[in-house]
Symmetry: D3
Subunit: 290 residues, 6 copies
């Protein structure tokens, strides 16, 4: 049987990744040799690896495809095909930033002030490229972790990921520059992508994953509307949506159904009610495919 060999990130993103696949319709369970979890699709083989290494192994062909951040794809300096951007981190659903940071009260004001200084980072190549682009010479050393704590006692600056900035703040660090914004990417080996079966499999997977992600932030709304109020109600619903309007049995009422962003609900519901909609219900969704 043909198989798609897929690398998924072990560690902090693992749980969220498994939940995303669950919503997309793939049940992954960790059994036996724990780095080879079971997935209920015999055409896929999942390997759990560190996010840092997945792009390298995808590029080398050890994996057909993988899920990792744009940051690590760039750090590995590899040639892979980006299949889909998947913003699914539950907490923020926004990109992480790779930043150059220094001590709050240090004299460094711009990148070039770091000439001749020492910088610790997990992203040695990205940092060197960034410094080179700014014409700055500095010592860049690999950091095994706890990077933020090294300024100012151990190094002069760091390059590290930040989501909300709160950890930087807690360490009294100041951002000097943003090197990169990063989101998770489903990416493929170039040769695998040229295999029609693997490409079709990946495109189907991407469709379902994106459908599941879309559903995280959307809900269904359903309401009954007197026929004469329908234009008012439709005028309120966002233009880009396609409301489903179906006639009702009794008299000239219609049922209107629409999928909208959850954060619009709190403004829409009062407006719809004011426009004449009745019996409005909001219900949760598993997937949304446009």
């Amino acid at each position: 049987m043909k198989k798609l060999r897929l690398g998924l990130p072990k560690g902090s993103l693992q749980e969220a990744t498994f939940q995303l696949f669950e919503r997309a319709g793939y049940h992954i369970t960790v059994t036996g040799r724990s780095y080879y979890p079971h997935i209920d699709d015999p055409e896929i083989e999942v390997v759990l690896l560190r996010a840092q290494e997945i792009p390298r192994y995808v590029a080398e062909g050890v994996l057909d495809a993988g899920l990792s951040g744009y940051d690590w794809i760039q750090e590995n300096e590899v040639d892979v095909v980006e299949v889909a951007e998947l913003v699914y981190s539950k907490q923020s659903r926004r990109p992480v930033r790779l930043v150059l940071a220094v001590a709050q009260d240090s004299p460094f004001k711009e990148v070039k002030d770091l000439e001749g200084k020492r910088i610790a980072t997990e992203f040695v190549r990205l940092t060197k490229r960034f410094l080179a682009a700014h014409g700055v010479n500095a010592t860049v050393e690999f950091s095994y972790g706890a990077t933020e704590a090294k300024v100012p006692d151990v190094v002069d600056a760091i390059v590290d990921l930040t989501e909300t900035g709160s950890s930087l703040k807690a360490h009294n660090l100041r951002v000097l520059a943003t090197i990169l914004e990063s989101t998770p990417r489903l990416h493929a080996n170039r040769q695998a992508w040229n295999d029609p079966w693997k490409r079709a499999k990946l495109e189907k997977l991407a469709l379902l994953l994106k459908g599941a992600i879309a559903a995280y932030s959307k809900v269904g709304l359903k309401m009954n509307v007197p026929g004469d109020k329908l234009p008012d109600v439709l005028a309120i619903l966002p233009a880009m949506k396609h409301p489903t309007v179906s006639p009702l049995h009794n008299g000239n009422w219609v049922a209107v159904e629409v999928v909208i962003d959850e954060h619009q609900v709190r403004d829409l519901i009062p407006a719809l009610k004011a426009a004449g909609a009745q019996d409005i219900i909001e219900y949760p969704l598993n997937k949304v495919i446009p």
Copy 2:
């Protein structure tokens, strides 16, 4: 930008309150200074305070509005506007009672038997008003907690909250009288209520919160019905509901959809099936706005 300053109860109700707001469409996250959580509506500022103090700060104008129990609004003896009653405690969804209790085997039979006795309570003012109304003189002392354990060794009676009565029972206490029934209330400062922007904001908030609470105990039912069975099916559905009946493409079947109380489901589903309904599904709801 205009802002509504809203006090939410810190402590035992906090988690349930945050979940209620989440369902209503407002995401609250505790970050940084933990008593000023972030809410994803720039027009609202949330302050976490003890339920005991919220009515006082609403009345004084430190807050525009707040969520606290009717018990604490009464204990604080303040003049505030009640915007909505919100029964959202997940466990019981019923009022708590403020009761006067004595030892199971004590000789006290009615309120006036407490003449000259000692009573411990967190609700000193409510207790004094209640005793005065009954023409009873007794020493009422403030209790910092563990109130139920004080009878009979430390005091003769207590005034305390009870939900199911099981804690009273476990302490071998007997209820002599119920002073008050209490539910959570969204209440506003009188001046804030007279400000049209704040009042509109509060009414919108109340609409969504009540819609979310209503959805806790309701579900959606959908079924296919042959046209000739429709009257039988409609006869079964509760009169006060508005079933949505939509014609089906194939032949003379109709689809019937209705929102009902979850606890009615177990009687309705067998009855609907017996009346000719087919392919009945029940689905969960996020909000229900009549």
Copy 3:
């Protein structure tokens, strides 16, 4: 008031059982005397007992009905009425097997090789019947637990339950024969079953429990389809389902709604989209009654 006395399994299945009843519309809470939980249906009385004992107490009339595995019904050698098979274990939703197992590297190849040997099991009667049917004489001793660990140092073979086989593997055991496949069964006392009120009550309960179980593995799909694409879309939907097709207000589009097995979704959604369906949404279900 008439009451149905119902035994539910205490221990490993308890939580899953309570969740199943919750989905079916019955709220069970453990309060007070913990083996007599509260259920919000005054016509039912729940007793928590070991799964091993429930069939015996049902047969003896101590209970009107109970939930236990087919394995224990057989082991108890009792005469009860099977009301419904309920496969609701969340993890696997597949039967457990009662197997005869020996050490991986033992010389035993078939059942008759166990002639004269020692076998430990919780299922003494079932094992004796199985051996007798194979014309094998062996010592069968009751095991209080940790049965798998007893081979080969303590006994020659065991008879034990297995779900995935991973525990057998971890103990280096090899399956020699499968004695039984078992799933949970709602079963009734014969006399209670002949009481019309109790039988109706049990049938209603079974209907709702099965509806809740069906919903675990099903989802609702809804989509908009241009009239001319409807045949293509309907051709894709599984034959045994009854899609609900309703005309839409605007032009010649229709809305198609169907309930399908969740594991079909990942193949159906791409196919439906390819066939012309738009705005496909998938939503969760609480109950599905055919």
Copy 4:
């Protein structure tokens, strides 16, 4: 190498048993096949089994010796050699009792009132022997657990273990008779006991286990005493102890050291101080061998 095959109880006593062996100088760690833990004495092999089964396997020679309760030794009706009584349960350090109990408000007053009734128990043989000795005929059925909850709805009486009686009280049960008092026993197979090497090994083990148990409830006391106060101090120290009195370098003081029961300390220390002892210190002990 010669080996002593030793069965230790799996489950609720396991942790306390491992700690006791640790204090006695044997480190047991659960690794690999979890029922065969590692012990750092190459002459001992440990097997973890249910306490219920250990006496049977000791009697049959599967084990050379084992640790189980007197209750299970009696229930198994086996012939084993009792090597040592080891009261090491950390909480109470007192025997458990096997009692016959009935509902608090039942009419049963003495054992013979149970004539013809139903009794549930894990100790079927002990119960039958007890009833026979009292000339009572009753149905005794094996209970898989949750025994206390079965009175009065499922059976008329139970025979179960109790330590403090609090669980009986919580289930509204009343003790009708005590059948047995039980403590843990190190017991040996009769043949193994006749093997000099195994017997010596067991006696050494028993010496160390008893030394460790003794130390749980004892402490060391040390103090300086002026020579002329020595008689007064010695008069206070319990007669059965052997205080170690050693001369001090400076002048005519002596150091007095004694091992005493911890619960005597609170009376002794004030008395010793009053009698002239100074610089009293109390220190913890690992083992006490008389």
Copy 5:
């Protein structure tokens, strides 16, 4: 039997209090009615109450004695006998301070700047006395908790307890004045203190509690010393201690034993070794009675 009725603090200090009593030789276990824990001394009855209320109940005679902070004794403005100061909080073993604090960036520089301002505190009486002593008029309101979070949005200043100051810092507060330093106190009702039996009981209890506290920070040191090195070794040992010097059997060596503060060990051990001491061992202590 005579009984000493003793109030112990419920809540954050409870666990540390129980451990202290355990070390002192009294085992307290929470069973049954949880505010009346069991203590293994029939002459003592323990009642668990809030620290805030204990001094009041001691003064009123509901309790014979109690353990609470100096802060609450002062806040209650009651007349009690202080039996012993017991600094046993495991973390810091130093007093807590009751401080008047304002926002870091507020204009308030000294106490009198708070004239006419609003202050929140749990210590209303202490605060009013302090302000009166400084000739300042301000509104002092009772705070139910979360006091630190109220500055500056809700009140201008607070009076609250602080141990390390880290919580104040986290809330951006600045200390304006220290009102009180507080440590736990064993205190007695004046009448109980005059009862010889109760007084003796309390003095014995205080002796053991202080002995246990002293042992937290002390260790025993023991070493062998050649006779001619003894003066050097004794010169190093702290003057206020009484080393126990005992002659050894073999030759002219002596054994030296001393109890010292644990934090001195790291300086003493290297010095003792340099002075000729050998085989130095350090061992833990349970109690130290001078």
Copy 6:
């Protein structure tokens, strides 16, 4: 004030390191900026860093000294002074091994079979040196973790640490060669070592840490012995120990005290008792300094 800047390992060894320092007499608490924990010695400043990086920072002079494994000192290829070997890992107290491992069923039999293969490891330099010493050319790639899971699907061999070998076994790996044995080392910067104050500080620290480690596996034994039995008792006690023999007050008895390895106790105690020793007690130790 002079300060010693000391790097301690963050992560898996952190807790054990803090406990070791606690036993040695230094209390470390993590407060505020969590990588700079507080130590109660004003002459030491602790920095928490990854074990991998500590040797590098010690060599560069960012730290005066640090605690890390011999493995990481070698991997960093730095010139540092080894102050003390400290085997304090609580579980095994034995060295970890850095091994070259391959799949159980792979054809690789010796190191040179890996010619041209791919090897993943966290120890890139050590691995390259080892291969070079064996005249083998292979691709060595840095592994970010989960190294053992990469054989055989991702790489041909790995170089990784192992303590008990159980993780290797669980991954079906076979050891081809041991590259290194490693234990924790207190190591210093060469320049710091030449500073007399820092050297003295480090030597004192090493003395106390080694004293604390020695006490983990040792206990104190004390017994009373009749004078005529003393030679027999002394003959049993290990030759290299120095028993402390002190005359007793009463008659011709002596007290014998000795510090021995805990694992000898179980053989010594029965022997000592047999030789005539009485009232043997064993007590725990905090530190042992020879």
